[in-house]
Symmetry: C2
Subunit: 327 residues, 2 copies
C-alpha cells in the first residue's frame, strides 16, 4: 500500500535512487577533498576544523533560470557561473575558498546532470570541496551555492573600512558582462562580449594578495559599480569621486558602443564580479592588479555619495544598479 500523501505529493523513483543520482551527478565529479574536513559529504552535516589563527568566512547566493541566466543559456555554464559568483564574495573578503554546499532544483534528470557538471567544473577549477547539498525536482531550474573559506583573524577586507583620502581601485572589466548578456539576448550568441557574461572568474588569488598587501576595504561588484560603490560609501560614511576615463578599456568601449551607452553600462551593468577596493595613496604594487578609478572624499550628502566625472566633467547619474522585486 502506498500512502495517499505519497501518491498525491511526490513521484516515486524506481530505477536509480536520489542518492545514486547525487553520487553520479555531483559527488563523483567533484575532486577536491579539503584537509580540514573531518566528516565529508554524505552525513546529516559536514564537519570541518579551522586552524587556531583562522576565522570562518561564509557567503550564499541563489541563481534562478530566467532571472540570473536566459532560458536558452547552457545549464552547465549557468551552474558554473553560480559557483563562481559565490566564490567572488569570498575573494572580496580576501579569504581562501575551502568548502561549498550546493542545492540544485531541477526540472528533470537531464537538467540535474548538466548543472552537476557545471558545479563540479567550477569547484574543481578552484580546488573547493563539495561538502554537502541536496537536490529537488520542481518546475524551475535554480541553484543555491553556499561557500566558506578561511583567513587569518581580523584581516578580512570589509565595506565599512574605507577612509577619506584613500584611492578607489577597480580590478576586472566593468560593463562587459552586461554587454555580453545583451548580445546573447539579441541572438548574437557569438558576440565578442558574450564570454564576459558566460564565464565568471572569481578573483580569489587577487583578493588574498590585496589583503596581504594591507588593503582593508573591498567588495565584489555584481549589481553595477555605482550601486556597489554606494554601499561602501554608506558603510564607511564617506563619499567617492570616480573618473570614468580611468576605467579599464574605457576608450575602446566608447569606440565600440558610444560614450552614452558606455557610461550607462560601466556604471550600472551588473554581473561583472570585479573587485572594487580602496587603499592608502602610498600603497605600492596595486597597479599590477587594478586601475585607480577615483578617490574617497569626506561624506557630504548621503543622496549623492558617489559622484562620477568623465575627463573632469561631472556626469549626470540616471540609474543605480539592479534591484530584485521591482514592480
Amino acid at each position: 500500500m502506498v500512502p495517499l500523501w505519497l501518491l498525491l505529493w511526490r513521484n516515486r523513483f524506481d530505477f536509480l535512487s536520489e542518492f545514486s543520482l547525487i553520487e553520479s551527478c555531483f559527488v563523483s565529479k567533484a575532486k577536491t577533498m579539503h584537509a580540514g574536513t573531518n566528516v565529508a559529504n554524505g552525513d546529516d552535516a559536514s564537519v570541518h576544523a579551522l586552524e587556531p589563527n583562522q576565522e570562518l568566512v561564509v557567503s550564499t547566493d541563489t541563481a534562478v533560470a530566467g532571472v540570473h541566466w536566459p532560458h536558452d543559456f547552457p545549464l552547465e555554464k549557468a551552474a558554473d557561473r553560480a559557483v563562481c559568483a559565490a566564490l567572488s564574495d569570498l575573494a572580496a573578503m580576501g579569504a581562501e575558498a575551502c568548502w561549498a554546499w550546493v542545492s540544485v532544483v531541477a526540472e528533470n534528470k537531464h537538467a540535474l546532470t548538466l548543472m552537476g557538471q557545471g558545479v563540479a567544473d567550477a569547484l574543481n577549477r578552484y580546488d573547493v570541496e563539495l561538502s554537502g547539498g541536496d537536490t529537488v525536482h520542481a518546475p524551475l531550474n535554480s541553484l543555491n551555492i553556499t561557500v566558506a573559506g578561511v583567513l587569518e583573524k581580523n584581516t578580512s577586507m570589509q565595506r565599512k573600512q574605507a577612509k577619506t583620502g584613500e584611492k578607489v581601485w577597480f580590478l576586472g572589466q566593468a560593463g562587459f558582462a552586461a554587454l555580453g548578456l545583451e548580445q546573447w539576448l539579441n541572438d548574437q550568441k557569438d558576440g565578442s562580449f558574450v564570454k564576459y557574461f558566460s564565464e565568471i572568474t572569481p578573483k580569489l588569488q587577487q583578493g588574498k594578495a590585496l589583503r596581504a598587501l594591507g588593503v582593508r576595504c573591498c567588495m565584489d561588484v555584481s549589481d553595477g559599480i555605482l550601486q556597489d560603490a554606494g554601499h561602501i560609501c554608506e558603510a564607511s560614511n564617506i563619499s567617492m569621486r570616480l573618473e570614468l576615463s580611468k576605467f579599464p578599456n574605457w576608450l575602446s568601449l566608447c569606440e565600440q558602443i558610444g560614450e552614452e551607452k558606455a557610461t550607462q553600462i560601466v556604471l550600472s551593468g551588473g554581473e561583472d564580479y570585479g573587485l572594487l577596493f580602496t587603499a592608502e595613496p602610498d600603497m605600492h604594487g596595486l597597479d599590477a592588479f587594478a586601475e585607480c578609478i577615483g578617490e574617497c572624499v569626506e561624506d557630504r550628502d548621503v543622496s549623492t555619495s558617489v559622484e562620477v566625472y568623465c575627463e573632469g566633467e561631472k556626469v549626470n547619474i540616471a540609474a543605480p544598479g539592479y534591484n530584485h522585486f521591482a514592480v
Copy 2:
C-alpha cells in the same frame, strides 16, 4: 538611457530598494547576534570565530512550494519548517546551532514578507543568528537554508559509527507528519495530525544531550525510518532489526488508522525530523529521551539490511522512503 539588457531582463524597483526589503523582511526581525560573529550580515560574506576546541558543522536544505509544502499551506509556516528542517541536521550531529544563511525565492513582495517572518520566527526561537542571504524574484516560492553550528572536536555523532550489538533508539513521532500532510491534502485542515506536519521541532537540546552521554551514531529521520535506517546500516556496515510495536504511540496509531496503514506510515512516512540513534546496551539515561525500537546485528545482506518485525512476526517491507526525481 536604460540599457537593453535591463529592460529585457529585469524589472526595476523604484520605491523600496532590495536592501530595504531585506532589512524590513528579514534582518530587522531576526534578533540573535552570535558572540562568535566578527562581520555580520551586510558585507559580501559573514566572518565568524570558533573556539580552539571546536569544529564547524554545516548543513543545507532547500524547500520548494508544491514539493515540500502544499501550495495552500501558509508561507510563514513553510518558511519556519524549512529553517527547522535544516536545524534538525545539526541536532543529529549533536551540534550547537549558531548561524544561518537564508536565500528566498519569492513570487512577490507579499510572499517574501511572509517567508521572512517565518524564517525570523524559527531563528529567534532557537537563538540562531541570521548571518547572510539573498532574495530573488521568480515565479516559484522556495527557500534555501544553510545552517552552521559548533561542537567539541571529534565528538560528532555520525551515521558510520553504529556497531553490532548496540540498541536502536528513536526520539520523536514516526509517521505523524505524513498523516498530518494527508489530512491537509484531504481538506481536513483542522485534523488532529496536521500540527505534526506544520510544526517541526528540531531536537537540538536532545542531540547535544545524547552526544554528551556518549552516543556516537545518530541521524535525523526526514525520508522515512526505513530508508534512513538503511543509510546507517550501509555507512556502518551492519544490519538492523526493528520492532514496530516498540515505536512511540504504535498501538494508538493502529487503533486510529489500522495496522496496515500504520505500518506503512511509520516506516515510510517522511518529514518527521525525529532522531534515530544507536547506543551500547548498558548506556543509561536514554529512556528519558527516546524509545528503544530495535538492535544492530551483523550485516548479512545489503539488500535486506533493515528487517522489521511486529510482535515478533516479520513484516514484508513494500516501499522505502521518498525519493526526488521520480519518473
